[in-house]
């Protein structure tokens, strides 16, 4: 059972969280100018890196979305911050 640090609540057990998306994806808009390929990439194409990953997670109990940087191999959590504090 991993422990994730919610920037609002502090460290909590992983079952309180939901994965939302890989960080850094920009929603392509407006719809009329977005190709099928671009849209499919936005919805479905993920890097799923082995090693350091930057991900958006949702803390269900307080409703906070946040950016978490973690190592998918060692499971070490490197950093977690509010979206408003994230650079991208």
């Amino acid at each position: 059972m991993q422990i994730f640090p919610c920037p609002f609540c502090g460290p909590r057990e992983e079952h309180e969280f939901l994965f939302a998306a890989e960080a850094g994806k920009v929603r392509p808009e407006p719809a009329a100018k977005v190709s099928d390929e671009e849209w499919a990439a936005y919805l479905y194409h993920n890097d799923a890196p082995k090693g350091i990953a930057r991900e958006i997670w949702y803390h269900q109990t307080c409703g906070t979305y946040f950016l978490m940087t973690r190592d998918t191999v060692t499971r070490d959590v490197k950093d977690s911050r509010f979206l408003s504090e994230a650079s991208t």
Binding site: M1, V34, D36, W39, L43, Y58, G63, T64, Y65, L83
Partner: protein
């Protein structure tokens, strides 16, 4: 009959308390303090079970968690617990003990004849033989013949195991010498130490080997450790198995208690010290599985603690110094002992013990039990053969915690590689077998100050490495519990299963409930020899939790039955109950299904008919009440919804959909605009959390959290929905203002100082009022409303009636009438898709080639062509003629309370352009015909909404 009870020895048993139990129906006696294993050993019972595959007789071989054979179904006070390990089960008066894997009793098992067929049953036999004609045909028979204990399917263990969390500063696993030294040093430096011990007492090998530490009996050292732990606020848990190491430093432990329910511990220590000890290796000779062949350390353990002596004529085979005190103790107890030491240079024989130097054991023979041992081609009479083949460190938890192993040549063992896991391993678990080095390592691991505790006399532990000899004749057993022989390893190597992971799966080596404690090393060292590789090259299999079998009831804890997934309860549950409601769970809420007694379908129809004729009242409190506030509230709702809400005027309501980015309908609901910057979104009862998640996603990611907030007020309000042609009269009679509200509008008002929100929203097709009242004041308000309702000829209606009312109107339930591919235009709602020029969630997905297909499943109504009642929900729709391919399915169906007859909703390929077409409904072999019709059957013009 070879084991016997010594008249004096046995420090753990209380001879004044005799306990009576039965084994396979025979009466047996033991003492308080015995384990099942020691009591049976002392009683002389030799055959304690049958082997898994060949049904060979098996006896007690080991102690503690390592025991592969003595596994029993134990019944006490009417409850049977299967597969109890005899070595870890304290004896209780009245236990009925049954051996496992037996067709009769352990002593007489007709399936024992299977053993004669062993030439035809090598490893992989099942995979090869029974696949050919279909495994399913053979499986029931094979399962009857194998498979350990029998579960009583009618008995449900109580859900009474508490899950407890704790965060000790230091967790010490194992209370042998190394564990005690580590715990003492840590506690003395002020740390809160939790010391976990699997058996019933502290001390580990000190309990049966004894010894002096720092000049006093070891028990003084133990008591000082206990005092130090207590003084520092720590805890000591005995009878507790630490069975798993998980991510981010979580450890789980199962505490067994005799006077209270067990406890499931979840421990998050700051530091962990593993002092789990080592398992004595067996030796590998022909017939090494016969009852009467036992580990030497186990024999000493049972002798000293329980006075249970393994036999009278004992051969002790070894290549190490550690077994010499065992021989001395057994000899002193009155047995005739011969040591067969494979080494030429050995310590002196203890007094009275016969020593054969440079002698290897080749076989044990006998029918059903040991009668002779063959030493260097010479047969010697013996009733017991003890094996001391060296040690295998218990490193499971280090490996589960992510640790790696190194091969230690001098200690002939795989030991934890320092720094590869967060666990520090000390003592015998780290191959530090000597008492002084174990104490010193434990002391050092806790950063103990001052000199480490020292034993007065050092014990000798050196041993010469022994390996399975693949050239030996006869059947040499490696894994007793899963019946794997040395030949099976050779078969696996020959067939190419040379990786240890493949070896394990092909032969089932180490896959039994003892997790290969006594067998894994033999398997991997044999494979190494057969393939000409070293042991580190061969490697080990992956260690996974649990370290030891744990009852599922312990892990499940209290989260079973009513507490598995408790539903939410209505504030007005009492009032509904008093009115005769029958409750059922709807989307996580316990709600009235119908009121009264009798056939539910008939009651539901009756309630719905009253609602159509006069008025009905139902509790709609679970409907989401999500408030969206702030200057950018309208903008947020426009982006997250399929329908624009910024164009909604104050005091009005609008029905909308919420899509996912894939364009799929996620939820539907009505949005009320209370003020320019204040909206209330009524999400479906079961989607509230999900809708908030989507709203927060947009708010925090797209709006930067500024200008809009989202508050869930679902629990604050109780909501009552009043529906029917007499709804307005009921309201008037109750003295409540109607405010002349038109359909799809909302007013905030109050009555007798009770704040109310009244909305003209209809889920039934009749004039309806959704009245929200603060939950604390709901009971009195509801009573007043019901009084007026009944005076007007109306009544309470349950959810089943509401389902009938909404279905004949074609009002959907998202998730019932829609599925994971339904888009808004599949429901016939095309305008926003065609006209909206602004951006909204899911928009782009509505314009893919897939979204544009004309044969998408679309929502329609169905009218049966026959008079055989409602169409079956879930039935498949197939083409009028030709191929029987599913073109869709019935999503909702039932009697039509307003229109009469029956009505169904269905998702059908291209359904919206197939009005009037007669299709076939296929269900459980039955075929019925139905006509495709508009989803709305009742009052299609909508006149009754303002009726």
């Amino acid at each position: 009959m070879s084991g016997w009870r010594h008249p004096d020895l046995g420090q753990a048993v209380d001879r004044s308390r005799i306990l009576r139990f039965s084994f396979d129906g025979a009466a047996v006696e033991g003492f308080a303090g015995d384990t099942l294993a020691s009591a049976l050993l002392a009683s002389g019972t030799r055959i304690l079970g049958r082997s898994f595959k060949y049904h060979r007789p098996r006896g007690l071989m080991a102690m503690g968690a390592a025991e592969p054979n003595a596994v029993f179904d134990v019944t006490l006070d009417g409850r049977t617990i299967p597969n109890q390990r005899a070595t870890l089960t304290p004896l209780l008066d009245g236990m009925q003990v049954r051996s496992v894997n037996t067709a009769g009793s352990a002593g007489r098992d007709p399936l024992g004849a299977l053993d004669l067929l062993h030439h035809f049953l090598p490893a992989g036999f099942y995979y090869k033989t029974f696949m050919a004609m279909g495994w399913m045909r053979w499986e029931p028979m094979i399962r009857r013949m194998a498979g350990l204990g029998r579960v009583n399917a009618n008995w449900h263990p109580p859900a009474d195991v508490e899950t407890m969390n704790a965060a000790p500063q230091v967790l010490v696993i194992g209370a042998g010498p190394a564990g005690l030294a580590a715990a003492k040093a840590a506690a003395e430096s002020g740390s809160r130490v939790w010391l976990i011990e699997e058996t019933c007492a502290l001390g580990g090998t000190l309990r049966w080997r004894g010894g002096q530490i720092d000049g006093a009996d070891w028990t003084v050292f133990r008591d000082a450790t206990l005092a130090a732990i207590e003084a520092a606020g720590g805890r000591v848990l005995t009878d507790t198995t630490l069975w798993g190491a998980f991510d981010h430093g979580l450890f789980t432990a199962w505490q067994r208690r005799s006077d209270a329910p067990d406890i499931h511990w979840r421990l998050r220590p700051s530091r962990t010290i593993l002092a789990a000890g080592a398992i004595e290796r067996p030796m590998w000779f022909s017939g090494n599985d016969l009852p009467g062949v036992m580990g030497a350390e186990a024999a000493l353990h049972h002798l000293v603690l329980h006075g249970a002596v393994a036999g009278r004529r004992i051969i002790l085979a070894t290549a190490g110094d550690g077994a010499y005190p065992v021989a001395g103790a057994l000899c002193a107890a009155g047995a005739e002992v011969t040591i067969a030491d494979a080494r030429h240079v050995t310590p002196d024989a203890p007094e009275g013990v016969h020593l054969l130097r440079g002698t290897r054991i080749e076989a044990a023979t006998g029918h059903g039990a040991v009668r002779r041992a063959v030493l260097d081609h010479k047969a010697l009479d013996a009733d017991t053969v003890l094996m001391a083949g060296g040690w295998t460190p218990s490193v499971q938890l280090h490996c589960q915690a992510g640790g790696k192993l190194d091969w230690d040549q001098t200690r002939d063992a795989l030991v934890p590689r320092p720094g590869t896991s967060a666990v520090t391993t000390v003592g015998a678990a780290n191959a530090r077998y000597g008492l002084s080095e174990a104490l010193a390592e434990g002391h050092a691991a806790s950063g103990g100050s001052g000199p480490a505790p020292r034993p007065t006399v050092e014990t000798g532990w050196s041993y010469a490495p022994l390996r399975p000899d693949c050239t030996l004749k006869g059947r040499v057993w490696i894994d007793m519990q899963n019946d794997v022989t040395l030949k099976d390893v050779a078969v696996a190597a020959r067939e190419g299963y040379t990786s240890v992971e493949h070896l394990k799966r092909f032969t089932t080596l180490g896959m039994a409930t003892d997790q290969g404690r006594t067998s894994n090393f033999a398997g991997l060292s044999a494979m190494a020899a057969l393939t000409g590789r070293t042991i580190p090259e061969t490697g080990t299999t992956t260690f996974r939790p649990p370290v030891q079998p744990v009852p599922l009831a312990v892990i499940g804890g209290r989260r079973r039955g009513a507490l598995f997934n408790p539903p939410r309860r209505l504030m007005l549950e009492g009032a509904h109950k008093a009115a005769g409601a029958r409750f059922r769970e709807y989307g996580g809420w316990l709600r009235p299904a119908v009121y009264g007694t009798g056939d539910e379908a008939a009651l539901a129809l009756e309630e719905a008919q009253v609602a159509r004729a006069t008025a009905g009242l139902y509790d709609a409190s679970p409907l989401g009440k999500i408030e969206i506030l702030g200057p950018r509230a309208a903008e947020l709702l426009d982006f997250t919804g399929y329908v624009r809400m910024s164009t909604l005027t104050q005091g009005r309501a609008r029905y909308g959909l919420m899509l996912s980015e894939t364009g799929i309908v996620y939820d539907d609901g009505v949005v009320l605009r209370l003020a320019d910057d204040h909206f209330v979104l009524s999400a479906s009862s079961s989607h509230v959390a999900g809708v908030i998640q989507k709203l927060e996603d947009a708010r925090q990611d797209r709006f930067g959290s500024d200008g809009v907030v989202i508050i869930d007020r679902t629990a604050y309000w109780s909501t009552l929905s009043l529906t029917g042609p007499a709804a307005r009269s009921v309201l008037n009679r109750a003295g409540l203002p109607d405010h002349g509200l038109p359909h799809m509008s909302v007013a905030e008002t109050e009555s007798d100082c009770v704040p109310l929100r009244i909305a003209r929203i209809s889920f039934t097709g009749d004039r309806s009022y959704e009245i929200s009242v603060p939950a604390q004041q709901a009971a009195a308000f509801e009573a007043r409303l019901v009084h007026a309702l009944e005076a007007e000829g109306g009544r309470r209606i349950g959810l089943e009636a509401v389902m009938l009312l909404r279905a004949e109107k074609g009002y959907i339930l998202v998730g019932k009438d829609t599925d994971g591919v339904t888009m808004p235009h599949d429901l016939g709602w095309t305008a926003p898709r065609e006209r909206r020029t602004d951006e909204f969630v899911g928009k782009r997905s509505l314009f893919t080639a897939e979204a544009g297909r004309s044969d998408r499943r679309q929502l329609v109504g169905l009218v049966a062509e026959d008079d055989r009642g409602a169409l079956p929900t879930g039935a498949h729709v197939v083409a009028p003629a030709g191929m029987r391919r599913s073109q869709g399915f019935v999503t909702s169906s039932g009697p039509a309370p307003g229109a009469g007859g029956s009505h169904a909703l269905a998702m059908i390929e291209g359904g919206l352009s197939r009005m009037g077409e007669v299709i076939r409904i296929f269900h459980l072999g039955d075929i019925r015909h139905a006509r495709i019709a508009p989803a709305c059957l009742f009052d299609p013009v909508g006149g009754r909404l303002d009726g």
